[in-house]
Point group: C2
Chain length 227, copies 2
DNA sequence: CACCGATATGGAGAAGTTTCCGTTTGTCTC
DNA sequence: GAGACAAACGGAAACTTCTCCATATCGGTG
């Protein structure tokens, strides 16, 4: 934040000022409901700078949106690294992993709008972002601690994959899943995967039966033609 | 294929002809390496039709790319529904699910180019596609059979989520995972999740230790600033 | 086979994204 | 403070995606 990283050439004063103006304008537009269909042209106009400046600062649409999401990620990162257990240090790896996924569900559902925007701007950007690198490293470490024999790096990807913004959105909208149902689902995924033999303490509302599956596609046998 | 669906007003001859011309031109361009950065304008020119025609036929970029993928999807569907076990009917649910995921790994890696294109055209399109509906229905059924108490619909989404084209691509490129490693990873995911108590027959090359993790990100404790 | 309504066509154009580059402005030195 | 230079600026231009609609075509019908 305040400590300029060593090799970084340091940002010029006017540049920093413009970065703030642009972020503020973008945040304003998003808050104003223009979330989807947020044009960089419009952002530039609202921030009263040229389009070129926006691109110089943020590279592309995805870059701007990620910058918008950054503050939340910093907070999350801090909660994970220094906050109270079970999300923060202190709890055992299993509890931490579970808390981590639950927190991620809340974050993903809460920031849905912006996350969808980021994803639509550039789907692969997620996987090369700082934020994903952090989540993957954290999950990998916890998984490795829980089961040293597993391919922790792969399992971390697999556990984070369901947080794809468009999947979360699809589950919330089309399938009608509640955040609680998603959390319970992750618990089921975790229970078996990461506890080779040990019996896991019953999940809080584990007795919950799956409600209306949304009564859709159950074909399989039907040979309907395309389109 | 040859049976015209009931309510469909039937496609006019010239329209059908143009559909083929467009698909052929698009396939040609993709094969020619212009996969990423495939412009519909260019496709229209190559197919010698107006842009408007491309849009009339396929709706948008995503529609065209999905149409290109459709043939492979039909073949896959047939293999699953009528092919030989363990992918096709006949094997027990656990074996079928495992074979299903393995086959999907091959499919996803094989069609990487086009799948990435489809995803970048419209990330949410995957989840409303026929192909995803089929995969989800099939996985849900198998999971429900294996563990009637689980939230099969959620677990199916969770198991399919790691097939996001950009994740597969990231794993292959940046992490250096081989398709075999991914398959083994899915086996680990399955083993615990879906077999509450039963011991699962050892996976073929289960003794394999995870090779070079690509030796990257292991920060976690580092508080590096953004960008 | 001439007619006609339903469809399809193609290209101009609206809207957005991204690149480029001549000009302006900080910032560091002397 | 004047000069030098890298960095930043802004907006025009090159491209894409997608929409619209006046015009051309198809394929039954009488």
């Amino acid at each position: 934040m305040l400590t300029a990283m060593s090799a970084a050439p340091a940002e010029r004063a006017d540049a920093a000022r413009n970065r703030q103006k642009i972020l503020a304008a973008a945040a304003r537009l998003v808050a104003a409901g223009a979330a989807e269909r947020l044009s960089l042209d419009e952002v530039a106009r609202a921030a009263d700078v040229g389009v070129g400046t926006v691109y110089r600062r943020f590279g592309d649409r995805a870059g701007l949106v990620f910058a918008l999401l950054d503050e939340q990620h910093q907070l999350f990162r801090t909660r994970v690294l220094e906050g109270p257990p079970p999300l923060g240090p202190g709890a055992d790896a299993g509890d931490r992993l579970r808390a981590f996924l639950h927190a991620l569900v809340d974050l993903s559902v809460g920031q849905r709008e912006l996350l969808l925007l980021a994803e639509s701007s550039s789907p692969p950007a997620r996987f090369v972002s700082d934020s994903y690198a952090f989540q993957h490293a954290h999950a990998t470490r916890l998984i490795a601690e829980l089961c040293p024999d597993a391919d922790a790096a792969f399992l971390a990807d697999a556990l984070l994959a369901p947080f794809a913004p468009s999947l979360i959105d699809h589950q919330c909208r089309a399938r009608g899943f509640s955040p609680e149902r998603i959390k319970t689902g992750f618990d089921q995924l975790l229970r078996g995967t990461l506890q080779p033999e040990a019996a896991v303490p019953p999940v809080e509302q584990a007795s919950r039966r799956l409600p209306a599956d949304d009564g859709s596609v159950a074909d399989d046998g039907c040979a309907n033609a395309r389109r």
